[in-house]
Amino acid sequence: MATETLILPDRTAAVAPLRQKLGHDDWIMRGAVVALGLWLIVTVLLPLWAVLSKSFQAADGSFVGLANFQAYFANPALANSIWHSVWVSLLSTIICVLLAFVYAYGLTRTCMPGRGLFRIIAQIPILAPSLLPAISLVYLFGNQGLVKWMLFGASIYGPIGIVMGEVFWTFPHALIIIATALAISDARLYEAAEALRASPRRTFWTVTFPGARYGLISAVFVVFTLVITDFGVPKVIGGRFNVLATDIYKQVVGQQNFQMGAVVGLILLLPAGVAFVVDQLMQRRQLALLSARAVPYAPRPDATIDRTMLAICSLIAFAILVILGVSFFASIATFWPYNLTPSFKNFDFDMMDGGGWRSYFNSLVMAGLTALFGTAVIFAGAYLVEKTPRFRYARGFVQFLALLPLAVPGLVLGLGYIFFFNNPANPLNFIYGTMAILVICTISHFYSVSHLTAVTALKQIDREFETVSASLRVPFWRTFMRVTLPVCLPAVLDIAMYLFVNAMTTVSAVVFIYAPHTTLAAIAVLNMDDAGDVAPAAAMAMVVFATAAVTRAIYMLLTQGYLARAQMWRKR
C-alpha cells in the first residue's frame, strides 16, 4: 500500500527545481517592483552616492583620497563640532526621554484628569518647525529676554539654548514611542505581582520598567538622531557654538565648499546610521514581547499618584504652551516687548526677505503635492513589497531602499540632491530649481516612516485575500482597489497627514535645493531670523503651525465623522 521503507532510486541527483510560469499579475507586479526600485535608486541611493564620492574629490572633481578628511580633522574649529554635537545631543536625549517617560506614565498608567488634553498639548511641537522653539527661547532668555535673569548670567546662545529647544522639539517623538510601549503592557503581570504581594516600587522595577525598556531604548535613539541631525535649533540659537549640522550649512551655503560639506555630511551619517541599526533591532524585540493573549492594563485611581502626576504633567504642558505662546504673542505684538498693541504688522511678509507670502503658498503646494504623490507611491510601494509573490531578492532590495532614508539626515539627503541633480551631465538636471525636486526630496526624506506605517497596516489584513482573488481569477489591482485600499484607508490618511505636516515644517533637506521662486515658509522663517526680522520669523512659524494644526484638526474630524460612516463594515 503505502511506501514505508521502500528503497528509492537516487533522486538527489541535481535536477533544476521547477519554476512556476508567470501570470499577468506576476508580470505587472514584478514590473512595478522594478520601477519602484529604480525610482528609489534615483531619489535616494544615487544622491547618497554623490555625497560619498564628493568627499573623496577635490574642487575640480579629481580623486584625492582621504585628503578632505585629513583637512577636516586638522582644523580644530571643525573637528570640535563632533564633540559639541555628541554631548549636546546626549544631554538633550537624556532630559527629553526622562520627561517623556514621566509624561507617558501619567497618560497611560494613572487616572489623572485631563489626559486627553495633555495628549493634545504634547503634540504641539510636531506641528511647528524646529526654528519656532529656538525663536521663543530667544524672546524668553535672549539679550533682551523677558526672564533672562532665570539663567543667572549664563547665555542662552549656545548649548543651553540648543538643549532646551531640542528637548521641546523632540518631546512628542519620544512620548509617542514610550506611551505606546507603556500602553501595551499585560495586566496579568500586574495582577500576578499584586497576588505575590510585591511592593509598588518593586512592581515598577520588575514589571513596568522591563516592559517599557525597549521603547525607552528606541526613544533614546530616535531622539538622539533627531537632535544630532537637526539644523533649525542650533542655527537660530547656537551662537558661536558650532555643531555638525550648522557646519554643513556653513560649508555649503556660506563658503561654497561642497567637498568639506560632503565630509561633514558623512560624519553626520555615522551616528544616525548606528542609531538606525540599533533601533531596528530593538523594535523587533519589542514586538516579540507582545502576545496576542495579553490583557490590556487598566489603571486604577490612586489619589496620591494621580495628583503628583497631574502636577508634573501640568508643569511640562505649561512649558510647551509658554514656548508656543511666546512666539504667538511676539508675532501679534507691534513691537515685543515694548509695544504690546496687537497688530498684523509682522505678518506683512512681502516687505521682508525670505520670499514673502509666496513662500507660504509654495509650502502649501509643496506639502499638498508631497502628501498626494508621496502617499500614492509609498502605499502602492509597500503593497508591492509585501504582496508580490516570490521575487524575493528584488523585494528585499526595495525594502532596504525604502528604509534607508530613516538613517539619512535631511541635510545629507539635501546635499546629495545638489550634487546629483545639479550635475549638468545628469539628464535629470532639468528638475533642479523646480517645485518637483522639492516634492521628490521631501517624499524621499520621509519615506521610511510612511513605508513602515503602510507595511504594518498591510500585515494586519488577511494574507489570503490575494490567494482567494487569484483563485477567483480576479486581477490583483482590482482587489487592491476594492479591498486592500479601503480596508487600509485609516493608515493611508495617516501617511498623507504625516507627509503634509512634515513637508510644511521641514527645513533641513530642502534648505539646499530651493530656488528664488520656490522658497518655502519654514525656510522663510530661517532667512527672516537670519536677517534680524525675528518677529516676522516668529509670525511665519506661527502661520506654519496654524496650518499644520488646522489640517490635523480637519483630519481628526474626518476620521471621526466621514470615516466612521464610510467604514460601517468595521462595526459588529
Partner: protein, 367 residues
C-alpha cells in the same frame, strides 16, 4: 491504493517533492484522487499536508514532480490559470464588502451579466443556507456563517476542485460538528472533487471518502476512514489516529507473541520469524469485558486501576495478573454498571485476536 481502478483519476500527482533549502517538506508523493471524491490530508503540523495543498493550488510550486488535473498538466501554471475554489481557516472574507459582493466577487470579474450574478448569488446563498444575509457585512455574521459564505464564494465560479485548508479549526466544537455534516452533504450533492487539509482526525474520519495520512513529508497510508482506523498500515498511523496501546513483545510463532509475560494470539500472520521483536497494537475500546465466555483466545485476568470518568465512558488502566503487562482500556458506562467494575477489582477481559495489529519492532520515534 487504487480502490476504483476502473475510472480515470481527476487529480494525478506523481513524484512530487518540495524542498525548502536543505529541508524536505514533501518527499516523492504519488497520489490519485478520483472525480467526486472527498479526500482529507491528515497529519501533525509539519507533516507536509499544507505544503501539498499549496502545490496543488499553485501557491507554492513543487521543486519536482507533476500534477495533472482533469487530464491537464497544471504543474507549473500560475494560480489564476488553475481551476479550484479555496476556503481558508481564517475565512478571508473581504470585510468591507457585503456578503452578496463577497460571493459575487469572482463573477463580476468574469464579466457575468448583472441579472445572472444576482441569480447565481441567490442560488449559492441558498445552497449554504444563508439566503437572508446578503446585505450584511462579514463582521455581522457568526464564525460558522462566515465560513459558509466563504464556501459559497469558493463555489461561485463552479470550480472543478474544492480545496479546504483547515476550514473548521477556528470554530467552536458545536458549530464545527454541524458544519462538518453540511459541507459533506453539499459536496456529495454537487459531486465536487474536494481536498481538505486537517490535523483533526475526527474531522477526517467523519467527512472523507478517503484519508491520506502524512508524516515527515511522506504518505503513511491512504485508505477509507474504516481502513485507517481499523487497519492502520504503520505504527505512526496507529498512534496518530485514535488511541492505541503499544505493547512490546517477541514472536513465538507467526500468529502468537509473548508480551511481558502474557501470551497473545492474533489473526493476521506476521512474516517476521520466531523471536522477532514486535509491537502489538490494541485500541482501548477493543478490550472486551462482556460475554467473556464466548472468547476463547487472549483471555486475561486483570486488576482494574484508577477509573477515570470521561462522560460517555470510563477510561482505566488494567494490569494482567501474574505478568508485567499493563494497558489502558475503555469501558462503556453500561458495562461498568452491569458488571460492577470498580477500581482495584479483579476481572476477566479478552483481547480479540482480530482486533490486534502487529508491527515489526522497534517502533521508532515513540512519542
Amino acid at each position: 491504493m487504487d480502490s476504483t481502478p476502473t475510472t480515470v483519476p481527476y487529480l494525478r500527482i506523481r513524484n512530487l517533492s518540495k524542498k525548502f533549502g536543505a529541508f524536505t517538506a514533501l518527499d516523492t508523493i504519488d497520489l490519485d484522487i478520483m472525480p467526486g471524491e472527498f479526500v482529507s490530508f491528515l497529519g501533525p503540523s509539519g507533516c507536509g499536508k499544507t505544503t501539498l495543498l499549496r502545490a496543488i493550488s499553485g501557491l507554492d510550486v513543487q521543486t519536482a514532480g507533476s500534477i495533472h488535473q482533469g487530464g491537464r498538466d497544471i504543474s507549473t501554471l500560475p494560480v489564476a490559470k488553475r481551476d479550484f475554489g479555496i476556503v481558508f481557516q481564517s475565512y478571508a472574507l473581504f470585510p468591507n464588502l457585503t456578503i452578496k459582493d463577497n460571493v459575487a466577487y469572482g463573477l463580476v470579474s468574469a464579466g457575468t451579466p448583472r441579472i445572472e450574478i444576482d441569480r447565481r448569488v441567490k442560488e449559492l446563498l441558498e445552497l449554504v443556507g444563508l439566503p437572508e444575509q446578503a446585505g450584511k457585512y462579514p463582521a455581522q455574521l457568526s464564525g460558522g456563517q462566515q465560513q459558509r459564505v466563504a464556501l459559497a464564494r469558493a463555489l461561485a465560479l463552479s470550480p472543478g476542485l474544492l480545496l479546504l485548508d483547515e476550514p473548521l479549526s477556528a470554530l467552536d466544537a458545536r458549530v464545527r460538528a454541524r458544519l462538518r455534516g453540511e459541507i459533506r452533504d453539499l459536496q456529495q450533492r454537487l459531486k465536487l472533487t474536494t481536498i481538505m487539509v486537517t490535523h483533526d482526525q475526527e474531522e477526517a474520519l467523519t467527512m472523507s471518502d478517503r484519508i491520506v495520512v502524512m508524516s515527515n513529508g511522506r504518505i503513511e497510508q491512504v485508505g477509507t476512514p474504516d481502513e485507517i482506523y481499523g487497519r492502520p498500515a504503520t505504527a505512526f498511523v496507529a498512534d496518530f489516529v485514535g488511541k492505541m496501546n503499544f505493547l512490546e513483545g517477541r514472536l513465538v510463532t507467526s500468529k502468537r507473541a509473548i508480551v511481558r509475560g502474557a501470551v497473545l494470539d492474533f489473526s493476521e500472520e506476521v512474516p517476521l520469524g520466531e523471536g522477532a521483536a514486535v509491537t502489538v497494537c490494541l485500541r482501548p475500546e477493543d478490550v472486551a469485558v462482556r460475554d467473556i465466555g464466548e472468547h476463547s483466545d487472549n483471555r486475561l485476568s486483570v486488576q482494574v486501576g484508577v477509573m477515570e470518568f470521561i462522560g460517555n465512558h470510563f477510561a482505566t488502566t488494567l494490569h494482567a495478573s501474574g505478568t508485567g503487562l499493563n494497558f489502558s482500556a475503555d469501558f462503556s458506562i453500561n458495562a461498568v454498571r452491569d458488571l460492577g467494575i470498580s477500581s482495584g477489582a479483579t476481572i476477566e477481559v479478552a483481547l480479540p485476536p482480530k482486533r490486534l495489529r502487529v508491527f515489526a519492532q522497534p517502533r521508532s520515534a515513540t512519542a
